[in-house]
Amino acid sequence: MWAFARWTLRAAVPAVLALIGSAALAAPLKIGVTLHPYYSFAANIVGDRAEIVPLIEAGNNPHNYTPQPDDMRRVLEMDALIVNGIGHDEWAFEIVRAAGVEGKLPLIYANDGVALIPIAADEGQAKVVNPHTFVSTTAAIQQIYTIARALGELDPDNATYYRDNARAYATRIRRLKAEYTAKLADLDVSQFRCATMHGAYGYLMQEFGLRVVAVIEPRHGVEPTARQLAETIDKIKAANVNVLFAEKYFASRLADTIRNETGVRMYAFSHMSDGEYTADLFERETRANLETLVEAIRAVAEGD
């Protein structure tokens, strides 16, 4: 009897330990993200084989975020953190430092392979890097590939799955762009001259072959002085700018001032940093931006 019990125990303990071990091994990775588009990118890459955790709660402005104690708790639970790293989420590095995981938590720099461009309309001035690579399709796809590759290295068993998902997602994004470029095909873009409040749309406009004549904010997230605003208004008038893209979720008195001074048409783009974190946010907001772009170009072309 005792012999049987001992034998059962001897057989069962390793089996239970193996089960516990495999469960621990099979625990899905927790991948942190700093910005909304990175949530969408990562969620579409990993499917149900990893968990995506936003570093900061929805509803905060990533331009002027102040780290909170809860952020440190979240970062401690992450297996890796996807960052923009080129100026749009510097607060994330403060959180990582404060939590004591600097150098320990793998950071995935989404922009590592992206060829950066300057903030639009910087001609004649010192060129400043535009960190909004995520408001685009081409630079977004480049980041999706970089993230998929890095996640595959962290989780080799799922590397092929991640890569295949990344490719399918990239194809969907390209088809989305193709849908709107088809709408632009018959429109006359020769009279379209735009300015943007925020320097976030350079990558998007450039891939459509469109040029941003002026950016109102002199630097990222910085409102212009009265003198800079007056100079910008002069520039808008001189360059015959007829469309101003403001920010969808940020009211701006400046935009109204400029419209009143210059008579430009006003539209609003999404900066993709508002609302809940969802897998479809990037595609949804990109579609909305492209819809707005087509509407603005059509209005100029048809003289509405």
């Binding site: 510097e90 590592d112 060829a115 890097v129 194809t171 450039q206 891939e207």
Partner: protein
């Protein structure tokens, strides 16, 4: 009474001038040492004569096409791997997507012919080489209609690093948008025929600049 002799120094302020000069020299020396000690090497690559910066030197259309080629190169390598592994015998012998496939099936910029393609100069693309041995391919774009636009070359080949190798891609541009396709993509030959290699200012470089890593 013995006359008292007193030497009076001229009121020229020579001594004060010397002291002030010494203090100024001291401050300059300390500053120079501090600047030298805190100097951060630029994270930007030094360009060679036959290279050009994507960030500083390219016009908007060239920049957009360069960025599209950079993103395309990653997926082209994946497509190449799949054709080599799962393709038919014919595909394995010619394991790179054709320009027609990149346009119609992959919908891939800058090869896909849509309004963006038209706005970026309607560049005509050709695949001028496709090898299965050690995997390499060359895509060539010319005939761009925009003022100041370049001709483009995307060269995909394995980069050997000691005993290992990595999938590499380089983009070259030529100031003449109607230049003939090159006979070879060997670096020296391209340089000799006026091609310049485009060097990006990448996110990795900007991270090094920001973080000093």
């Amino acid at each position: 009474m013995t006359p008292r002799l007193e030497i009076v120094r001229p009121a020229g302020g020579r001594r004060e001038t010397f002291v002030v000069a010494a203090v100024v020299a001291g401050i300059l020396a300390v500053n120079a040492a501090a600047v030298s000690a805190r100097r951060v090497e630029s994270s930007e690559p030094r360009l060679l004569e036959w290279q050009i910066s994507a960030f500083y030197d390219l016009g908007s259309a060239d920049q957009a096409i360069y960025n599209a080629l950079t993103a395309a190169s990653e997926e082209l390598w994946w497509a190449h791997g799949e054709l080599l592994t799962f393709g038919t015998e014919e595909e394995r012998a010619d394991p790179w997507p054709t320009v027609e496939q990149l346009d119609a099936d992959y919908v891939m910029p800058p090869f896909h012919r849509d309004a963006s393609w038209a706005a970026l100069g309607e560049v005509e693309w050709q695949r001028i080489a496709s090898f299965s041995f050690e995997g390499s391919a060359v895509y060539f774009g010319s005939g761009g209609k925009l003022e100041g636009q370049s001709a483009y070359l995307l060269s995909l080949s394995h980069t050997h690093k000691g005993a290992t190798y990595a999938d590499g891609a380089s983009v070259w541009i030529h100031a003449d948008p109607n230049v003939a396709p090159p006979d070879t993509v060997k670096r020296d030959s391209l340089i000799l025929h006026g091609w310049k290699e485009v060097v990006p200012y990448s996110g990795a470089m900007e991270v090094r600049r920001l973080k000093g890593e």
